[in-house]
């Protein structure tokens, strides 16, 4: 499988990583190099094998339904690049 420039652009877009056209050839080459290398997994027979989920040492635990957190707006906003009053902000979203 080999990535074309359009696919590299689409992936960058999905990942919200800005790229310049001039980045494309190098990026395409590197990603194709890695993809070509992982192709070796094609030779492994995984018929009937269950995919690994977790590492098998435990099942999911749950917590009691009690309010133990929150009410920490200062901490929540402490690192915000552009907080206004009690809010985070982003460039205006038009819906």
């Amino acid at each position: 499988m080999s990535l074309d420039p359009a696919t590299v652009r689409r992936i960058a877009r999905l990942a919200r990583i800005g790229i310049d056209e001039s980045d494309l050839p190098a990026l395409q080459g590197e990603l194709n190099g890695i993809l070509g290398w992982v192709e070796q997994l094609n030779e492994v027979d995984v018929e009937g094998v269950t995919p690994m989920v977790g590492t098998g040492h435990a099942a999911l635990r749950t917590r009691d339904d009690v309010v133990t957190d929150g009410n920490c707006r200062d901490a929540v906003l402490s690192n915000a690049p552009d907080a206004v009053g009690p809010f985070y902000t982003v460039p205006k979203v038009v819906e």
Partner: protein, 494 residues
Amino acid sequence: MSLTELTIADAAAGLRARKFSAVELVRAHTDAIAALNPRLNAYITTTSDAALQAATHADEALAKGEAKPLTGIPLGIKDLFCTSGVRTTAASNILKNFVPPYESTVTANLLRDGAVFVGKTNLDEFAMGSANITSAFGPVENPWKRNGDDAALVPGGSSGGSAAAVAAGLAMGATGTDTGGSIRQPAAYCGIVGLKPTYGRCSRFGTIAYASSLDQAGPMARSVRDCAIMLQSMAGFDVRDSTSVNCDVPDYSAAVGRSLKGLKVGIPAEYRAEGLSAEIEAAWQRGIEWLKAAGCEIVDVSLPHTKYGLATYYIVAPAECSSNLARYDGLRFGERVPGDTLDAMYEATRRAGFGPEVRRRIMMGTYVLSAGYYDAYYLKAQKVRSLIRRDFTESFQKVDVLLTPTAPTPAFAQGEKTDDPVQMYLNDIFTVPASMAGMPAMSVPVGLGATGLPLGLQLIGRPFDEETLLAAGSALESAAGFTHRPVIRAEGAK
């Protein structure tokens, strides 16, 4: 002996015997940092003033006889552990001014036991790398030199700053995190001991995630016993981490020096891989002889899917990282690059905030999870991962512990192996399989190679049997009598 040469075990005894004060011990290390860090770049942030203040409290506690296991012991903290009120960067521009209002569970446990933090150690950006050259804060220099060659070597990665700091005497021990070898490989490159515990042994709460199903915190120190002491504090169940395992933390120090009589040690044939240097193969053979001499039975075993470990890793880890790093969007924390629209802001922020290797892995992970490719890549990799784990599980029905090399070569020079990402990834070929299976593993320095650089051997154990690693590790350690120190070190700098 200089205070920066002591082990944690000896320093703790010295403090209790009032041979020196915690302030003296900590000052020796902060002075060493001041002298050597500009060159080694092992720390991104130093906290000398706070450390000296903590040392004063430590001396008060010692005077009152209220010392805890790590009271007054100066440690470096990989800058991936969130530390309350202390900048935590993950060696990334996107977090270069991030000050967490919370403490990771691992560092909170160390503080509870009296440890003194002297600074936040450098790493590969978001722990993605094997040479500590992807840090936004510049590369770390390995304190070791090849014989007769002044070329700057890499310390390994991603916990390169921790390894270099411990090797050079800028900390008595340091925390690391290991996703595919990030504790063990730099430990081997820098001639120290590094232990990656079983997945689930140390809480991941408050540690910045790279690949959640693999990330595991562990100790890095100059002796096996010191790793046992640190792990004692770091390990333990944490309700805030759903993957943390609720099982008792044994007395790790008791395992150090334990008899190995009758212990079955497996030697996996597949680790005699291409690219394994002759000097490392020789060191491995010596290790086998030492363990045999210590009463172990050596058994040949096979881990047939080992060779697929790395390729599997480079699907699973990028996939998880592509999702884990989506939160760095310039909105709630971290650096923001303005944009006219929300998407423009995201794209500009993430392009400027992440370095090339992180961007590459995010894109790789985005691709392998995308519609139409999930089954071929991610699902397939998770199935191969099951096979890798099955290999280990079957081996551990025959043997108690596995012995392998930690890395195929000793440390290399900065600037080598940087053209092709795949060549760089191959440094982790021996460490990745245990990560994929969640098994505990440890690297122990066993000697110097032909060029005078340290070589490490890796022990891999059963889940939650870190004690056997410590027992076998201490046997290797005493048989090797590894007392070599790097050229660049605190004492030498004076």
